[in-house]
């Protein structure tokens, strides 16, 4: 394999690398950088929500012309929540989570030298980088960044007269997202082809770790749904710039009638949510895969119900494409459609329940190794259940009427997909850091990071349900215009304090992450005593992953504590003993 030892320059190794391991690190670091921006924005607008009309020098320092004496303007408030949502959902939890771990683990865990197309993989990352740059640039345009909410419903997003952020800021948002979607599709196609074609000898589909199943199915959902968002974005660009009327009709604004006739904003909502809902599963499925793998490894027990876990991933993925209308119960669409979407939405609770019970059963009678990755995995199951259960309220059309677009929704989706997916991402980073950087992260800092984060996250989002049930709409710059909500102010202060605590706790993670890259303890080849193939590769990264032949696989990945073996783990490359049955 002499071609794996050709000379590499700085540029081909660190910048335009086609090696999936390097690309994975590029995704991770870019995702973390975007995450810092996204979380910092949430700190700023939480200050405004808790203490409206109060001057903060931090707001004065960072918001420039969008603030007055340390108090942010209503427009920039809306811009902050918009960009916070966009960055966290797409740039952190889609690219940062799925991009990082699909790239790292797919070749390593299926036994492949690299992705099917290393070049496409590189282009995918650099398009993601470009879209991040465009999104960040949009923060600095004269009239402010996009501010119509991350769902960018027209006409608000189409008309600069309606809100200043719908000028250049929105244009850049749309360009950035179009590039992002191209990047995401290239990545997804690569993942699908790689999983289907490049598995090593013996690696049947039912011997794949659940991480790979999750990434594989996620990629399929992405390919099915992202193009629809691209078409929605393109049609919106047409409406904005070329005078078409796909989404606009009968508009009178600032004293004049606009020419638009015959379009419908509801059409945009359908197109948006046809991606938008699968998107939350694009975010959560990889986290589920990661958690399943880490839980089994650290419980020293097989994942409970492996085949049911695969089945529920597929069921969730299928259902995720036919539930988008539950975001639109009160959009004005036919109430009969609402009935259909209620039915399909509540069906998702069944495979989700199966997964939750299977995780809990995996812990039962285990020998739990409390590494930071394991803590975050347990945290994931907790927030996924807490957040998922309130989905029974929101997915039920009749109940959604009263809580739609209130803080109840904000609490629900932050717990079930935001916090849960972030926990999955943290778990993944702690667990595969040795594979990525050849060093270990510090566990004590990991413990502090986990416990402060988990307390802060529940401190933020548990009381928030009550704010929603009090009837307070989301995306309100202040609720001072309503004496009715005066008693919510105290709760909002509590929430903001926990939010600041949670944000500060991430500094522990950042410190741990960046220092461990250079100063962390050197990793052993298989530090967690795991069964999967990535731990059979050398610690030092080499092109092609394995120095010699790619090992053949003889068993499924979850033979932990299997009777008849001395150790409590059996690598997938260990042949079956005589008379041993495969599980």
């Amino acid at each position: 394999m002499s071609d794996h030892h050709h000379k590499e320059t700085f540029i081909t190794k660190y910048v335009f690398s086609t090696d999936h391991k390097m690309i994975s690190k590029q995704y991770l670091v870019t995702g973390i950088f975007m995450g810092i921006i996204g979380v910092f924005m949430s700190m700023l607008f939480r200050l405004q929500i808790a203490w409206p009309d109060t001057s903060f020098s931090i707001i004065e320092a960072f918001l420039g012309r969008h603030q007055d004496g340390g108090v942010m303007s209503p427009d920039i408030y809306l811009a902050l929540v918009t960009i916070h949502g966009t960055i966290m959902v797409f740039f952190v939890l889609t690219a940062g989570l799925s991009g990082t771990f699909s790239n790292l683990l797919i070749p390593l865990q299926i036994g492949a030298r690299d992705m099917a197309s290393g070049f496409l993989n590189m282009v995918s990352y650099w398009l993601f980088f470009l879209s991040s740059v465009v999104m960040v640039i949009s923060l600095f345009v004269e009239a402010g960044p996009a501010s119509a909410g991350w769902t960018i419903y027209p006409p608000l997003s189409a008309l600069p007269q309606a809100i200043p952020g719908s000028g250049m800021g929105m244009t850049l948002w749309l360009i950035s997202m179009a590039i992002f979607i191209a990047s995401s599709l290239m990545g997804a196609l690569n993942y699908i082809v790689t999983v289907l074609n490049l598995r090593t000898v013996g690696m049947t589909m039912t011997r794949l770790p659940l991480t790979i199943w999750a990434f594989f199915v996620t990629a399929i959902i992405g390919v099915v749904s992202f193009p629809v968002l691209l078409s929605a974005a393109l049609l919106l660009i047409f409406d904005r710039s070329f005078g078409t009327s796909f989404f606009l009709s009968d508009i009178f604004i600032q004293g004049e009638v606009l020419h638009y006739q015959g379009g419908s904003p509801v059409l945009f909502e359908h197109l948006f949510w046809f991606l938008g809902h699968p998107e939350v599963y694009i975010v959560i499925l990889p986290a589920m895969g990661i958690v399943s793998e880490i839980m089994a490894c650290n419980s020293r027990k097989p994942i409970f119900g492996y085949r049911a876990m695969i089945g529920s991933i597929i069921a969730i993925a299928f259902l995720s494409t036919i539930v988008w209308g539950h975001h639109m119960f009160v959009s004005g669409m036919n109430p009969f459609l609402g009935s259909v979407f209620t039915f399909t939405t509540l069906l998702i609770a069944i495979p989700s329940a199966v997964k939750a019970f299977n995780w809990i059963t995996t812990l039962w009678k285990g020998n739990l190794q409390m590494n930071p990755a394991m803590l975050f995995s347990i945290g994931f199951v907790s927030t996924f259940i807490s957040g998922g259960l309130t989905g029974l309220v929101l997915g039920d059309s009749a109940l959604d009427i009263n809580v739609h677009d209130t803080y109840f929704v904000v609490a629900h989706f932050h717990l079930v997909m935001g916090v849960s997916a972030i926990y999955g991402m943290f778990a993944g980073v702690y667990h595969w850091f040795p594979k990525m950087y050849g060093r270990m992260m510090n566990k004590v800092l990991g413990y502090w990071h986990f416990w402060i984060t988990v307390i802060a996250a529940y401190g933020v989002f548990f009381p928030m349900h009550f704010v929603g049930l009090a009837g307070l709409p989301r995306r309100y710059y202040a609720n001072t215009a309503f004496p009715l909500f005066d008693d919510v102010a105290d709760v909002n202060i509590v929430i903001t304090l926990f939010a600041i605590l949670g944000g500060a706790a991430q500094l522990i993670f950042l410190t741990n992450f960046f220092i461990s890259i250079y100063k962390g303890k050197k990793a052993e080849q298989n530090p967690w005593k795991a069964n999967t193939l990535e731990w059979t590769t050398p610690v030092e990264h080499i092109h092609g992953n394995w120095p010699g032949e790619i090992p053949a696989v003889h068993r499924w990945p979850y033979d932990y504590s299997k009777p008849g073996h001395e150790e409590d783990y059996v690598s997938q490359i260990t042949p079956l003993k005589e008379g041993e049955e495969e599980s």
């Binding site: 027990k301 609402g338 199966v354 020998n367």
Partner: protein, 336 residues
């Protein structure tokens, strides 16, 4: 200058953390038996904190919740909500307990081997079928409420009201003596005719435009929603009512108010909530607040989205009719 200050502060914090790290000497990376023990116990402690937070929140924050529904339809929604909530809390209590308890109970011990337990079709059948059955019941119950609330076709002598949204205020139009709204389009907006009512339509002439929303108790109201610029959402939380207002189309929602504003002010839960609010307002030196029903905008619509509201007054039907008869029709308004 302040930005520099914050950057410096961040650097200082960074250095501090760096120092903390050097104390750990970067040795510990893999959990030892001692770590397993500590972290397992912490999960038990966290479980207690978790239930404490839930109980505390319910105890402390129940008073800020909306009072009981002021419409017949809303009462059905509230029942469904209660049933769903009991179910949710039951499942939440059990699953979170198991999760934290197992994390505590099975914390790793050196030399112990975990139970090799990969599958049990019986268990999996149980937790597929039980949720499926429970959800089937919930779906059927939910859909019957939904169909009831959304279907206004069997309403007897309903009051037809148009609610009209624009950046950043609400207007209303009553259908008048013929109880039929005249045609309208934004292209007809001229001067005083702010809702773009088509004055050539004979149904329009007796329509009554108003800047406040009054509703009769006990009579079903069918709302027709329009918007002139961007999406808005007409949210009337006390009636458990919400519908988006979409430019270019007319949307609909209906409910039957069953409590006048006066009756709601005398409601026990409302009084407790208002008392709490007024305590806070008194501390800030603000005037006391008196309860009123509200229509708020609940779809992001621009800078002043957070202050787009209209008061709703529910009266006995006779008082309502008296009030309506004193309002000018649009024909009279436009002529002036």
């Amino acid at each position: 200058m302040t930005a520099l200050f914050y950057i410096l502060l961040a650097i200082v914090i960074g250095i501090a953390i760096w120092q903390i790290i050097s104390i750990f000497n970067l040795k510990g990376a893999i959990a030892t038996e001692k770590d397993n023990n500590t972290q397992g116990i912490l999960f038990a402690v966290f479980g207690v904190f978790f239930y404490g937070l839930m109980i505390f929140s319910f105890w402390k924050y129940s008073v800020i919740l909306l009072p009981e529904s002021a419409s017949f339809e809303g009462a059905r929604i509230d029942n469904l909500y209660m049933v769903t909530m009991v179910l949710i809390l039951f499942v939440q209590a059990i699953t979170q307990f198991l999760l934290f308890y197992f994390a505590f109970k099975y914390r790793g011990v050196k030399g112990r081997k975990a139970l090799f337990y990969a599958d049990s079709h019986k268990l999996e059948m149980i937790w597929t079928i039980v949720p499926a059955v429970v959800l089937a019941g919930l779906v059927l119950y939910g859909l019957s409420v939904w169909n009831d609330v959304m279907d206004a076709s069997d309403a007897e002598n309903p009051l037809i009201v148009e609610v009209y949204a624009k950046q950043f205020q609400w207007e209303a139009r009553y259908a008048g003596t013929d109880n039929e709204l005249g045609r309208a389009n934004v292209r007809n907006i001229r001067g005083i005719n702010t809702m773009g009512v088509d004055m050539t339509d004979k149904n329009s002439l007796d329509d009554i435009p108003t800047r406040e929303l009054r509703l009769p108790k006990g009579r079903q109201v069918i709302f027709k929603f329009r918007s002139q610029d961007v999406l808005h959402s007409a949210y009337m939380p006390h009636f458990r009512a919400q519908m988006n207002c979409v430019p270019g189309m007319v949307t609909q929602f209906s409910f039957t108010p069953n409590m006048t504003t006066e009756e709601m002010r005398a409601n026990e839960k409302t009084m407790a909530k208002v008392e709490g609010i007024n305590k806070i307002r008194a501390e800030k030196g603000e005037d006391p607040y008196e309860f009123d029903y509200l229509l708020l905008c609940n779809k992001i619509c621009g800078s002043s989205h957070y202050n787009m509201q209209m008061k709703i007054i529910v009266q006995e039907e006779a008082d309502f009719n008296n009030w309506l008869s004193t309002q000018k029709t649009i024909a009279e308004v436009v002529q002036e």
